[in-house]
Amino acid sequence: MILESLLKVNTASGSTEKANEIIKKELSGVADDIYTDNLGNLIVRIGDEGKPATTVFAPADKPALIVTYIEENGCIRVHPLGSVDFRSACYSPVTNGTLSGILYPDSAEADKFSASHADFGFCDAKEARSCICEGDVLFFENPPVSLQNGLVSGVGLSSLGCAQACCIAAKNVVKDNNKCFYFVFICEDSLQHRSVSPAAFGINPVIAVCLEAYEGKNIAAKVADKSFVATPQMTQKLIESAQKCQIELKKHVFSDENGYASRVQSVFNGVKTASLLLPAKHSGSLCETVNKSDIEALSAITVQFLNNI
């Protein structure tokens, strides 16, 4: 499964190159074009350019840290890239890609990343600066863990589970001479979904499906959140697609959260947009947990939707 490969590489907001390489390799056999846009979103096109576009979006970044300052004693100050629970991150191994360190709280009372530091064992700032600079990304090194009953736990599982579903959808969509399909792997979803609008603008889709994760138990169609109301006909199509796959698809409404679907929906003259939710547990921690069967179900519904829209 591509998920295992994605979980092993270092990928973070603004630094999704390694994830993009894996996805490119996976989809090069089916794509008519694969490119990255100005912000680093990976975009896969299947079908002829210029035809009405149906687009699937999925995040491809994991939470990480960015180096902000190097102390005189060689300790590294960090800032979070994306939302990650501080308590979960403390005492976790981190890496810049070549060296390993540990993230420590400055004190027992520390409750935020500005009161923490990464210790790579450097003796002083000079030694640290020979290996690490301000602006470098530090990735969490927690390896994924396979649990019982198809559950998998690890950093960024909720995002990468959606990315896997998007890949599977791309591999199984049936080409249509009257349509063009785009599959967008978002590079800055964890940072307030910043790169989503430009990706949608560049494609100008007629229809969009946004694969998102939520803290919950069942695959669901998002009806609304604080800034988004799904196009009712699109939600209905998702439900019909799920029925054809013999998968139960519940509806879900978020009263106090903002996903990224609104960023897609509001480009140009508006996009008919639906949102499909992957259930995850322990969201925001370094041990996000999803079920592989849910990822498969997400993929199946998406493929059915694309092939029948």
Binding site: D37, N38, L39, T68, E71, H79, G135, L191, R194, P198
Partner: protein, 339 residues
Amino acid sequence: MIEILNRLCDINGVSGFEKDVALFICEKIKDNCDSLYISSLGNVIAFKKGAKTPLKKIMYCAHMDEVGLMIRHINSDGTLLFEEVGIMPEVLPSKHVLIGKNKIHGVICSKPVHLIKDGANNISADDMYIDIGTYSKEESENLGVYAQYATFENDFTVFGGGKMVRSKALDDRVGCAVMIDMINTDLEYDSYFAFTVGEELGGLGATQAAREINPDIAVIFESTTASDLPCNNGAEQVCICGNGPVVPFMDGGTLYDKELYKKIRSLAEKENIKTQTKTKIAGGTDAAYIQRSMSGVRVCAVSLACRYIHTGSCVGAVSDIEQLCALAHTIDKNLDKLI
């Protein structure tokens, strides 16, 4: 450069009232642009041909607006209530302000500290008013102050033995001054320049400028918070006056283009221009709005380390201003290597 900066800072241009700044800039650059216009929102958009056409379209950007106040109500005793435009209320008590085009003098007063709930630490604009020396609402109305802007009265000063400047509106007239200097010099590459409005209100002008010009790459000239004060050490200083232009990799609104960040710092080092970066992630610039416009723009920022930003006494180092200008020209000359 300092003289142009002085004149720019002297002009009052709170967000939404940038016209005088725009007209001054147009006057300074009109003879050296290939096209120049003021957009519907008030941006000054200029295009200057260089010796070469770059492979990617470049836009340089700086905002014309400054922080200030808006007069929202006149009390029966003639004093004025106001809304802040980008200013923290803590910096306001006892400041001297000028109101509107007629520059009516006023002083910002507050309730006695012991009458404010939780004391001086909890002061808000609701606890303050502007005294313009009138005694009645009618008298104040006749001066035409309602719905006008108020700015700090400026006193541009070069101090510290010529090493430092003190002024209102260094944020971001210094960026405007750098761009004026670029336009009035021969450029290596064709370039667009956007002097934007409404940055302090949330990138209003920058969004429009990016849509009109549709650049591939944008370089934003800004001022950024320097907290290099005796009470702060290490990362808490954010950036340091005198340590050169600030090239951030990230701020509260933008993750800057990694390649541009590294290349600009490397380029500066080769040209013996000392640069620094921000050691705390905070604040934001027009870059946030430009980056996410259209189908995305690669952005970077080059900033002046500015103490007491968003007050009437911003302080920056003369050497940093000069180096900021030098780096801007270096970016132009080496644009092909950056893209």
